[in-house]
């Protein structure tokens, strides 16, 4: 059974059903910016936007995403997350960078929902994105910088 996914503004015919969205994005569509780190919904490295909300793509069946708008880090990198990405680089809010696409995805959703977030709102929105290198202090600063809050 095949189905249609709308990813980064493009329609894709996908088959078979019954696989995780993460696997379809990485293996079929070769969108490798979305990372597999835990595969158990515990780390946020695989976060993508589904209708503007951050979702762990390792926990979502791809066929369940049919009819919804999926945006990956590749889609965000065409300008939508530009200010955040520049702020992440300027503040050094990344070290190994493996969690960074997921961080950018979650932070994009946060700022689109709450353009001027407080620190507490940042903590709440970003607590599902683990960073083992510990770039957190600078992730917080980068989000505030992108939001124009100092």
């Amino acid at each position: 059974m095949s189905f249609t996914l709308l990813v980064n503004g493009e329609q894709h015919q996908v088959s078979p059903a019954g696989r995780r969205l993460l696997a379809v994005l990485r293996d079929d569509l070769e969108l490798l910016g979305t990372k597999l780190a835990c595969g158990e919904g515990a780390c946020g490295a695989c976060a993508v936007l589904v209708d503007g909300k951050p979702v762990n793509s390792c926990l979502l069946l791809a066929d369940a995403a049919e009819g919804h708008e999926i945006v990956t880090i590749e889609g965000l990198s065409r300008g939508r997350a530009g200010a955040l990405q520049e702020a992440f680089v300027a503040e050094d809010a990344l070290q190994c960078g493996y969690c960074t696409p997921g961080q950018i995805v979650s932070a994009t959703a946060l700022l689109e929902r709450t353009p001027q977030p407080s620190r507490e709102q940042i903590h709440e929105a970003m607590a599902g994105n683990l960073c083992r290198c510990g770039a957190y202090p600078k992730i917080e600063r980068a989000i505030l910088r992108a939001a124009g809050v100092s």
Partner: protein, 750 residues
């Protein structure tokens, strides 16, 4: 002229004599403290930051090759067992399966320890491999193996192993003076028993490798800290010349000590690729990563200190039982007891207990973190017994020379670190934190001292090539595991070349260039590689200045090169460097540089002090770190931006030792219970305290030409001890084991 020189090389406290190439014509000397530098010491963003932030960089886990097979690993479900049977035929019968390898399969590689085992001695140990067209088929193949296993007795508690004299290597007993007599004679003594937890590295990119053969040439993408050691290991295992093996390690998604050499994954991938004639991928899933990806050993330590009434340390008597698992190097848990403070009577015992766990693995400042975590809590207990300010006790016992060798340090600014940390933390007013608080929380402040090596050494090499566009290509042997050392390399090269940063490209992560760099461990990359880069760049600069002299018909001595411009001292010439380089046409200016030897007669260490402020909610047992001040003396800082990131990362991993991270093992089965990221609690952004960072930033003039020491490990070393001391200050109680989980805190406070 290039000569061979025999010198000592240090890695994580292990010394070995090595022959190194020394360029006698290399006359680059350290920048002086007052020298004005354009780039070194100024914050610069990572050269590859934009690519990382856009998800464009490819880690080993992202490598996809045409026809690539996927691998599933059958791992032991028990802590100790013996395989009764494996249904290899059934695994082969699964559609898509291309290789099935069990413990009895004859392999083409030879390794010191067998790759697979029929008698696993820890939960998660690999028993068999299945490679297939898809990961799903490989997993199905593993399931079809129908593992039948006889369960054997296991031993998890290291004390049980000590009682039965089960050690991975002989216990060590190191002494100077007479600690026992000095303790007996001491005016004040304390004794403290402490446990430090087993901690998992938990890099978000799991261990992994992709291997492919072209005849007898092996190419392997490996998520490793040591691409050259991986190359050597693979070459040895398959009987190849090193130049027949290429290891690519451009981007690594975290390592923290766990990714050494080729590892199981690269050996398995190369073996399976050879068997199948196809590229093969072996990447851990998360459960395998948490089970078998690396473990800092649990330790149980006893520290007895004896001192005069004025705080002068007279005796340190320490011992550590280390849960080694199945083996591994015995990390220097007792080094802090032997080196941090001046003390003439020291005895230090280490018992490497053999337990049915994965072999312990280097984890960011291995051994020293555990040792400092115990010693520094004992020092606070001594301060309490003496009724003395804990920081003052540390100052009074400052070691002027290395306590093991008696040699002077190449540089040491620890006292300045104490002063600066105290100032930034508001140490003088710390007891005010213990007054009743409006929010009902208990508050306290604690400090701890850091020691680590971090001087680096040879061999390390670099090449620099300058082209007609005035653009330099710097080739290094760096594998940048997230520290930003390649960006540091770019800064050092550009500084020396007198070029702007964007005119310098840096390359690492590929052994094909055959420009050697050391394993990214032990805080040695910066102090080892940067001097080699500066030497290479200095030679190019020299040639460039000569050519500029030819072009402008002026003596070389009258010219200077800075920020991409050639200027004469009299101001008559002020030209873009391309006015010289464009005349190169298709030619380039090339040079190579190598790391000089370390100074003889000195011990090279890094030092520091951290001060933590915590709050404790006695009702629910929650400890929160509110603030950490971290001041570390690591010589000259090349890039303050990435340096502060290293400190933040180390502090947060150290905080996790104090508060949340521990391997939990079912004593009945010996199987770890929390080998997943939802129940093994690494810090989140919501746990982060305010982290205040400073460096003395004084270049070590005894180190070759850059004066920078390593910074990867130092910041993790004192954090857990500082937090534990702050907890004791806040509550008046000391927990005898970390982490300070809510259950443990409630127990300690009741």
């Amino acid at each position: 002229m290039t000569r061979f020189v025999k010198t000592q090389k240090e890695l994580e406290g292990r010394y070995e004599d090595v022959w190194v190439l020394v360029d006698e014509a290399d006359d680059t000397v350290s920048w002086t403290p007052d020298q004005e530098l354009s780039l070194v010491g100024h914050p610069a963003p990572r050269h590859d930051g934009a690519a990382r932030a856009a998800g464009r960089v490819r880690y080993t886990a992202d490598v996809v090759l045409t026809g690539m097979l996927h691998t599933a690993v059958l791992r032991s479900p028990v802590a100790h067992g013996r395989v009764r049977s494996l249904d290899v035929d059934a695994a082969w019968a699964v559609p898509g399966v291309r290789a099935v390898v069990g413990p009895e399969t004859e392999l083409s590689l030879t390794t010191r320890a067998p790759l697979l085992t029929a008698e696993p001695a820890y939960a998660g140990q690999p028993i068999a491999l299945v490679a297939a067209d898809t990961l799903e088929a490989a997993v199905e193949g593993v399931r079809a193996l129908g593992l039948d296993l006889e369960v054997l007795p296991h031993m998890i508690d290291p004390q049980d192993a000590v009682n039965e004299q089960r050690f991975t290597t002989d216990p060590s007993d190191v002494a100077r003076g007479d600690a026992e007599a000095a303790l007996a004679a001491a005016e004040v003594t304390i004794e403290l028993e402490l446990e430090t937890p087993a901690q998992h590295h938990s890099a978000l990119e799991p261990h992994g490798a992709v291997a492919t053969w072209d005849g007898d040439h092996l190419t392997a993408w490996v998520s490793t800290q040591g691409m050259f050691s991986a190359r050597e290991e693979l070459a040895k295992a398959f009987g190849l010349r090193t130049d027949s093996v290429r290891v690519l390690t451009e981007f690594v998604g975290g390592a923290f000590g766990a990714k050494q050499g080729a590892g199981f994954e690269a050996l398995a991938a190369a073996e399976l690729a050879r068997l199948t004639g196809r590229p093969v991928r072996v990447v851990n899933d998360r459960h395998a990563e948490q089970l078998d990806g690396g473990r800092r050993a649990l330790t149980r330590q006893t520290i007895r200190l004896g001192a005069d009434r004025d705080g002068t340390l007279r005796a340190i008597d320490a011992d550590a039982v280390v849960s080694m698992g199945q083996g591994g190097w015995v990390f220097p848990v007792m080094i802090p007891a032997r080196t941090v403070y001046h003390c003439d009577n020291v005895r230090a015992l280490t018992f490497p207990a053999k337990t049915n766990l994965r072999a312990q693995h280097a984890f960011r400042a291995p051994g020293v973190t555990e040792g400092v975590t115990a010693l520094e809590q004992a020092m606070d207990e001594l301060a309490l017994a003496l009724d003395m300010d804990p920081l003052e006790l540390r100052r009074r016992n400052h070691a002027e020379v290395d306590q093991v060798s008696g040699l002077p340090y190449s540089s040491k600014h620890l006292l300045a670190c104490y002063d600066r940390a105290a100032e930034l933390a508001g140490w003088e007013a710390r007891d005010e934190l213990r007054l009743p608080q409006p929010d009902g929380l208990l508050r306290g402040m604690g400090c701890a001292t850091q020691i680590w090596w971090g001087g680096g050494g040879p061999p390390a090499h670099a090449t620099v090539r300058l082209d007609a566009d005035g653009h330099a290509l710097v080739v290094t042997g760096i594998q940048d595991i997230g520290t930003g050392t390649l960006t540091g390399a770019r800064i050092v090269a550009a500084e020396e070349l007198g070029l702007q940063l964007d005119h310098v490209t840096v390359i690492g992560g590929d052994t094909r260039n055959n420009v050697y760099g050391p394993v990214a461990g032990g805080s040695q990359t910066t102090p080892s590689v940067m001097p080699a880069i500066r030497s290479a760049a200095a030679k190019v600069r020299k040639t460039l200045l000569q050519l500029a002299g030819d072009v402008f018909e002026i003596a070389v001595e009258d010219l200077e090169l800075r920020d991409g411009r050639v200027r004469s001292h009299d101001g008559a010439i002020d030209a873009d460097v391309t006015e010289v380089t464009e005349k190169l046409g298709d030619a380039t200016i090339d040079a190579s540089g190598s790391r000089g030897v370390n100074p003889e007669g000195f011990v090279v260490n890094t030092f520091g002090c951290q001060i933590a402020q915590v709050s404790v909610d006695p009702g629910i047992g929650e400890v929160r770190v509110e603030r950490i001040v971290a001041v570390h003396d690591v010589g000259r800082i090349v890039n303050p931006l990435t340096a502060s990131s290293q400190v933040e990362g180390g502090v947060l991993q150290g905080m996790a030792i104090a508060l949340s991270e521990e391997q939990v093992i079912d004593p009945t089965t010996g199987v770890p219970l929390n080998a997943h990221l939802d129940d093994y609690k690494i810090p989140t952004i919501a746990d982060v305290p305010e982290i205040v960072i400073d460096f003395p930033n004084v270049g070590d003039l005894n180190l070759p030409n850059v004066g920078a020491k390593g910074l990867g490990e130092p910041p993790i070393v004192p954090t857990a001890a500082a937090i534990a001391n702050a907890f004791a200050h806040a509550t008046g109680r000391r927990a005898t084991a970390l982490p300070l989980t809510r259950a443990r805190v409630i127990e300690v406070l009741s």
